[in-house]
Assembly symmetry: C2
């Protein structure tokens, strides 16, 4: 095994597969990154047996071969390499990977590539193709609503609801819910198909996508999903569990619709959140309205009282309602539009936010009951 490449090329590959390396590997070999050199390509592979990521970069090889190096050490090394050509050479007995640049040489200990688990070969299954831009929009608008509580694993995922006519994504932690209807480039799904994929992993995959218009392909089997781009293959396990019927919780109508500036509302919520500071702090903010003024109130024994006013356009009733500020704040941070609708029905009915201009999307927040 002998090849040359630059630091930046290596960084791309190492960053991509590092997401699949477990912090506490169950077998020593899984602390490694598998590298396979062919004539014009270097394929990186890492897996924690739940998730596998493969990433291929173009290189100039003089001798093919395979090896496994410790992921953490390789990652740190690549970051510190100089600009300019770098040559990699596997020693005669395969025990050392020699890294050469200018007059210097670094010899990394290797592991036996035969021990490294191969990713399953997936060809059979239903196929869905999206643009990478659509995939990224999905993770941005939906991903943050998933739970991080592993005791109910289905809530840590994003539900993919795929039909011949549409694709929908949903995530919820039971306190709020994100819903997006997307568009597909193509699909072989004949009947409705629902499956749950880990939200954090999808967000990690989205970060590796740089070409909005290029395709991203999914192959969906019974228990796994393969996600592919030109450079990357990711294999994820489907999360088991019964997802709640999301259609039933989305209010069909509203009694009050406000048009609100995202920036003004976010700044007011940020200040109202001051009441959450301190030991007896509260996450609850109370919302009420009078004419075209939306009032947000919060208070805590340590901080004091906060009274924020935001100018809105309003049609319909005046409604008082209370929310956990975090669920409002997190959503307001992900919107790329300037204005949103807030639709309310009553103090105990979930509020619905619809970004104006991202109209295939909605965000639902369950209110807090207050005295």
């Amino acid at each position: 095994m002998e090849f040359s490449c630059t630091r930046q090329e290596l960084l791309d590959g190492v960053n991509a597969v590092s997401k699949a390396v477990s912090a506490r590997p169950t077998m020593p070999i899984l602390s490694g990154i598998y590298m396979e050199v062919q004539e014009n390509s270097l394929r990186f592979l890492a897996t924690d047996m739940e998730l596998g990521i493969e990433y291929t970069i173009p290189i100039r090889a003089t001798k093919p071969g395979t090896t496994v190096v410790n992921a953490k050490i390789f990652n740190e090394m690549v970051r510190r390499l100089p600009d300019g050509p770098i040559t990699f050479l596997l020693s005669e007995d395969s025990s050392l990977l020699k890294v050469r640049y200018f007059g210097s040489e670094l010899s990394l200990n290797t592991m036996n590539p035969i021990e490294f688990p191969v990713l399953p070969h997936i060809v059979e299954g239903e196929h869905v193709t999206l643009t990478q831009g659509q995939f990224k929009e999905m993770t941005r608008l939906v991903g943050f609503s998933a739970s991080s509580d592993e005791s109910r694993p289905w809530f840590t995922g994003i539900l993919w609801d795929v039909n011949p006519e549409y694709i929908r994504w949903v995530a919820t932690d039971t306190h709020r819910l994100s819903f997006l209807q997307g568009t597909m480039v193509s699909s072989t799904v004949q009947e409705g198909r629902q499956f749950i994929l880990h939200a954090k992993t999808l967000i990690d995959v989205a970060r590796l996508l740089h070409e909005e218009e290029n395709p991203i392909h999914l192959t969906i089997t019974k228990s796994q999903v393969l996600i592919e781009t030109e450079q990357m293959r990711v294999i994820l396990r489907i999360i088991e569990g019964q997802y709640p019927k999301y259609q039933q919780v989305i209010p069909k109508e509203y009694k009050c619709r406000m048009t609100v500036k995202v920036k003004a509302l976010l700044e007011a919520v940020d200040r109202a959140a001051l009441a959450s500071l301190g030991k007896e702090g509260s996450n609850i903010i109370k919302i009420s309205m009078d004419g075209n003024i939306l009032t947000i109130r919060s208070n805590s024994p340590e901080v004091g009282h906060i009274h924020e006013e935001v100018f809105v356009d309003r049609e319909g009733d005046s409604i008082s309602i209370a929310f956990n500020y975090r669920y409002l704040q997190e959503a307001l941070k992900v919107f790329s539009v300037e204005d949103i609708y807030i639709d309310l029905t009553g103090p105990l009915v979930p509020g619905v936010i619809r970004p104006i201009g991202e109209d295939r999307y909605l965000y639902l927040i369950v209110p807090v009951r207050t005295v």
Copy 2:
């Protein structure tokens, strides 16, 4: 108490005094920031009884007064205030500080300003004046060599060695030592005076200085030092203890002088430091020389072997020596020059680094004994 100002003006004051608020205050009132409004000024004051910081900003007051607010909450609030004019108003009974902007109002709970300890009034003492630029250079080049081990408090400080003819600063953690001879604008010190001030605090003070050419005044008493600029007053306790005689450890001559590029050496040391990763990692790097090549070697059972070559100009003997890479790395990061001298005498004699162009400075590293 009633006044107006902008968010940025408040931020400057709050940031400055926050360094003096203890994370674990010994009295509840010390979790606060004292604010004193006069006709054209707002004075902030905070202290943990070891360190006191006062910072004054210009404002437009309609009514003078004093109050104390919780430092953490006030800090968070100021960050979240909108751009534009902000009005502060103390309630009739002094229990709430009302903060008004646009139509909104925030009422912060206050504490009784009478309980707040006043900073001692220091006028008597010896005086030294520096430029703020000189003060900043001192903290940058010397401060990082101080120890963070509070069990020998004098090593957490910077020694000020003031004489009618010169001012010198020294910091050491016993593994390495920084020395700088500076220039004073003026001084009333008649005989030699040595005192130790906490390095971290001096670094914090330096961060608040923005006018290189403006003066910074010190008033030195038996147990305290007052540091003053136009806007700021800082009172520090002098650290007690016997500082080692630093002149005795600085080698007077050398047997080998190398001229080295800082950037190339730092990159090589960063890579050699890879050997410190992992459970059995080592911080030791071995240095040797052959002609105009400086070789750095390190190794560890987990990582492998590292062999780095750096081109140098050399006069004198070829010497092999070993260092803890951290002491080399930390120093190389603070230099603002491109080239340094490294002066060596033998494997067990401290090495001396002199930045070329910062020639009133030297940095000494104690070598590691290796087999």
